[in-house]
């Protein structure tokens, strides 16, 4: 237990690489934070980044943020924790981030203990867990199959704060962790110092999106949380932003289905008794949040698998007769493509026509599909087992649609306006989420063993 009555956590940015004003960071450091923590990831950008093992953030932007955080933290000897490294937190994302950290350490001559915590889950463990009922569906998702596991390129589990605490206790100054429950990097140091788990996690839940919980909100500005024995206080360091009860409470709703019960590794935060109180100077105090442990310890697993390759063509239409008949024209083009490539096995390719200006954004959920726009944006998309096949289907659908004859056609020179030459774009490999399930683990730490190295060591 720490002798301090309170502990201060700095969250510089909503996602590592999204940036923050240096002025804000300098102002935040004047408040003497005890730890700098940042969430680097999200499953929001979709399955590609996990499946392909690449980051959705930019390397130079991540290096810029990390350089400022690491140099300030090493100078003051306070810990830095990065969760869900590289966006998705699988091995390639982790290696990518550690490489950046090592580069900065060399350039800035930093020293200290670096803990690296992978979050990858082996297929063997997943298969055996499935057999013993320890891999369970997360409704409204379906139960996992062996194929879901077998076809995945990467599978990660969201660690709680416990593996981070294990690394802190081993002497880590800097922690780069694979996939994490978002609040964990903010809560680990306070919990390790003896502060209340529920309050620390709830504070982390708000800090993980940095200044998004202030008003005007921003995902690229600093937020500070100060935790004591009874509650925590949130504040910004940019005078242009304030925390209000509304901005903080509203953030509790964000990306959650039930704001009163926020499940995570080992249990759920219960907000039924939570009180939000406005303090002077644009600060908000939060008290009363409880943590209800679950009987068994579950971690969330995420996996993605490759489906094929994509090619897209972008076009527009302005002719009212074409726009009025677009559904039958699409059906006619599709029939021509199917007929022309009968030798390609059924189901080995897919062809999608997106009609922007009508239902391109909402698809099946669009209630105003029957309105006739004066202009239509069209994206022709082909997905096939190989890039060549996707190129073939897309190209053929594009040229067929361009010159497709339909009853009443007036504009006989071409149906589509293409903004680009070439008109078709190879979008590369396509992935889908294969796993989003709960895995029962025997203990919170052992699935996430850390390695401890020195920042100054060259690989």
């Amino acid at each position: 237990m720490t002798a301090n009555a309170s502990i201060k956590v700095l969250s510089p940015t909503a996602i590592l690489g999204y940036g923050f004003p240096e002025k804000s960071f300098a102002a935040a450091m004047l408040l003497n934070p005890d730890v700098i923590a940042v969430d680097a990831g999200s499953s929001d950008p979709g399955p590609y980044y996990l499946g392909a093992g690449v980051s959705f953030t930019n390397r130079a932007a991540v290096k810029r943020d990390l350089r400022i955080m690491l140099t300030a933290a090493r100078e003051r000897n306070i810990p830095v924790l990065v969760g869900s490294a590289g966006g998705c937190g699988a091995r390639p994302h982790l290696d990518w981030t550690v490489d950046i950290v090592k580069e900065i350490a060399a350039e800035e001559q930093l020293s200290g203990r670096l803990a690296v915590i992978p979050a990858d889950v082996s297929k063997e463990l997943l298969v055996s867990s499935m057999a013993s009922g320890r891999l369970v569906a997360l409704p409204p998702g379906d139960p996992a199959s062996e194929d879901d596991v077998g076809s995945s390129t990467y599978v990660v589990a969201q660690m709680g704060e416990e593996p981070l605490i294990a690394a802190l206790q081993a002497g880590a100054d800097v922690i780069i962790a694979g996939r994490c429950y978002d609040p964990a990097v903010f809560a680990a140091v306070p919990i390790n110092c003896g502060f209340d788990r529920a309050l620390a996690l709830h504070m982390g839940k708000i800090l993980e999106c940095a200044a998004i919980a202030s008003t005007p909100g921003s995902g690229s500005d600093c937020m500070i949380g100060t935790l004591d024995a009874e509650g925590f206080v949130l504040e910004t360091v940019n005078p242009e932003r304030v925390c209000t009860i509304s901005s903080v409470a509203a953030h509790t709703l964000y990306e959650k289905s039930d704001p009163y019960r926020l499940p995570g590794p080992g249990g759920a935060l219960d907000l039924h008794q939570t009180k939000f109180e406005q303090l002077e100077n644009g600060r908000v105090r939060v008290t009363g949040t409880r943590f209800i442990p679950s009987d068994d310890y579950f971690v969330k697993v995420e996996g993605a698998r490759p489906l094929g390759f994509r090619t897209v063509s972008i076009a527009g239409a302005r002719g009212p007769d074409f726009i009025a008949k677009v559904d039958e024209i699409i059906a006619g083009v599709r029939a021509r493509v199917e007929d022309n490539f009968r030798q390609m096995p059924t189901g080995s390719w897919e062809l999608i026509f997106r009609t922007y200006g009508r239902d391109g954004v909402m698809g099946a959920l669009e209630p105003q599909r029957d309105l006739t726009p004066h202009e239509l944006g069209i994206v022709i998309e082909a997905i096939a087992k190989t890039q060549d096949d996707a190129d073939t289907i897309c190209s053929f659908a594009r040229s067929t649609m361009l010159h497709f004859g339909y009853p009443g056609r007036v504009s006989t020179a071409g149906n589509l306006a293409f903004p680009y030459s070439p008109s078709d774009f190879k979008a590369g490999q396509v992935y889908a989420f294969s796993l989003y399930h709960l895995l029962k683990v025997a203990d919170p730490v052992s699935p996430f063993p850390f390695q401890l190295v020195n920042l100054e060591d060259r690989a």
Partner: protein
């Protein structure tokens, strides 16, 4: 006739994990939040008719007092990023809620 857009400060949609889409309506003040609850403005039948979905796919509707907010969560028509996806983040599915009004037309 009071329009929702005139008494709400936030009307938004977003993924809640890859299977779910969640809508948040945050009212400007407690009065309109209470009024919305009193008239049961956001209900399962309404969400079904606005989005053309079945009742079983409306997963939850919750009033969250600390934020003067009502939240509705539906099953995504497709798992986020699946083939045919139109909105990977689910951030532009809120528009049908903008035309809601209190009371009958």
């Amino acid at each position: 006739m009071t329009r929702l857009i005139d008494v709400a400060s936030v009307i938004r949609s977003k993924n809640a994990g890859p299977y779910e889409l969640t809508f948040d309506i945050i009212f400007q003040d407690r009065f309109w939040f209470e009024e919305a609850k009193r008239v049961n403005l956001i209900n399962s039948g309404l969400i079904c008719s606005l989005y053309g979905i079945e009742e079983k796919d409306v997963l939850d509707i919750i009033a969250f007092e600390p934020a003067n907010a009502i939240k509705a969560t539906i099953k995504r028509p497709l798992v986020s990023g699946a083939i045919g996806e139109t909105d990977v983040y689910g951030a532009q599915q809120h528009a049908p809620l903008l035309s809601l009004k209190f009371g009958d037309d």
